[in-house]
Amino acid sequence: MNQVFPSKYCATMFMVLLLLSVSGCTTVTIDQVKVTESDLLHGESVVVIGRRTGSDYETEPELISCVGKNLAKGHKGINVIPEAEFVDKLYPWFEARTAPSHIKDLHRLLRYDKVQKIFNDYNVHYIIWIDGNTEKTRSSGSISCSISTVGISCFGFGTWDNQSQYEASIWDYQTKLQIGKVSSFAEGTSYVPAIVIPIPLIATVQTDACKAMALQLQTFFNSPQP
């Protein structure tokens, strides 16, 4: 009996770890268009901002923050100015309805000394505008749970698809040109089988789209020279 308990415990732990390590599958496709060379010198920064002009969707702030954090990671880490800080500093010029939608609008805005000074203080070289969102495209199945004297038990199966579609436009602040675009398309299916307890196998579609886009953007800019 003393030998059975540890083996049962190990088996349960193994099952839990296996379930935790398994998640829904996500497929990510990245496209890139690069018009000119994009060197990022030591000390220069980029700013990642979300476009918020869509009428029925909004680029999620957490996606922008995720791209920023991942751009700053690793040996190719880039100086990234947080979106909220930059937009606050330049209020009211980068609000949803007032932000420059074309590079020529930015060019005009920069004729205002106060705005230009803030850009120079931050040592901004590139502005990355991200537009898009993640949405649920399909869902099916059902799970029912019941309460009895022995506890709660669930039975059933649920599944849903998520789709992420983001496009990043990269503007060069110094040359006042749009120098390229990076798009990220991701889709994945999540499953929740429930036999006594529900086991969620979630596809992290938005996070995967963010990480893939950030990785591509890191390679887009030539490494900073120390």
Binding site: Y91, P100, D105
Partner: protein
């Protein structure tokens, strides 16, 4: 048996109280709270008196539609904070009054009197899009120093925020409200000197100020206007200056009414 029936009655009463408390607890209360940054604009050399009506300063929206979940949104404090920040950035001197009443002791150039006309919100469950949305319709009034109306116009604001896992309805509504308030601030800053009546008044005021400056140079210091010898450049009419678009950079650095108007006009034309 008697004790049992009393116990049952008490239990029923407790249950009823619990149900009532739960139902009352369904009211969503949001006290809008957020940060409003100072605007990056050149302040106009004017003294503006701001009048916040108590209904505006303590504005509270209570949902009357029985079909909708009961909501109470208090936004008076937040909108006062927004306008205080925006106006302090837009004008060199901002004072506060209880009413649009001219005073000989503390003369002002202008009174600003904001009101709320309408407020609406949408929840994701109502629109079937994953978005909390807010619309606010402001009625903005501007009076001259004598209390005569110069202009009144409608300024709309829109704010939205997407749904997110673990984000409460209260937090999402608060975020949408902050976006809407920032939107009205931005719209007000960019539109202010494009309201034709205000544009006209500013031109007249500038001419009057110019005449006054010639008569009394000390007025410059007292009135917070530019006090260097280049002041005379400000006496040229606004039209003359506006037509020279290539002078934007140098114009912005000269702290006069005409050049500040030019700055705002040029920047507004980029939007």
């Amino acid at each position: 048996m008697k004790i049992d029936s009393i116990t049952i009655t008490k239990l029923a009463q407790t249950l009823l109280i619990l149900i009532c408390s739960t139902l009352l607890g369904c009211t969503t209360r949001v006290v809008v709270n957020g940060y409003f940054p100072a605007p990056v604009v050149e302040p106009l050399p004017l003294t503006v008196s701001v009048v916040y009506h108590p209904d505006f300063a303590h504005y509270r929206y209570i949902e009357q539609d029985e079909q909708r979940e009961e909501k109470e949104i208090s936004m008076g404090k937040a909108q006062v904070e927004l306008f205080n920040t925006v106006l302090t950035g837009m004008f060199e001197h901002v004072v506060y009054s209880d009413a649009v009443t001219p005073s000989n002791d503390n003369p002002v150039d202008m009174f600003f009197y904001p009101l709320i006309d309408e407020f609406q919100y949408n929840m994701p469950v109502e629109t079937k899009i994953n978005m909390f949305e807010v619309w606010i319709k402001y009625h903005l009034k501007v009076f001259d120093g004598q209390g005569n109306i110069i202009a009144d116009w409608i300024q709309t604001a829109y704010g939205k925020t997407p749904t997110a896992m673990f984000k409460s309805k209260e937090r999402a509504l608060n975020e949408a409200m902050i976006v809407a308030l920032r939107d009205v601030g931005a719209g007000f800053i960019l539109r202010f000197n494009h309201v034709p009546e205000i544009q006209q008044w500013l031109k007249q005021h500038q001419q009057l100020s110019a005449q006054h400056i010639i008569k009394n140079p000390l007025h410059n210091v007292a009135h917070g206007m530019a006090h260097n010898t280049t002041e005379n450049t400000a006496l040229s009419t606004t039209n003359e200056t506006v037509n020279t678009a290539s002078n934007v950079d140098s114009a912005v650095s000269t702290p006069t009414l005409s050049t500040k108007l030019l700055t705002l006009s040029t920047l507004r034309s980029t939007k």
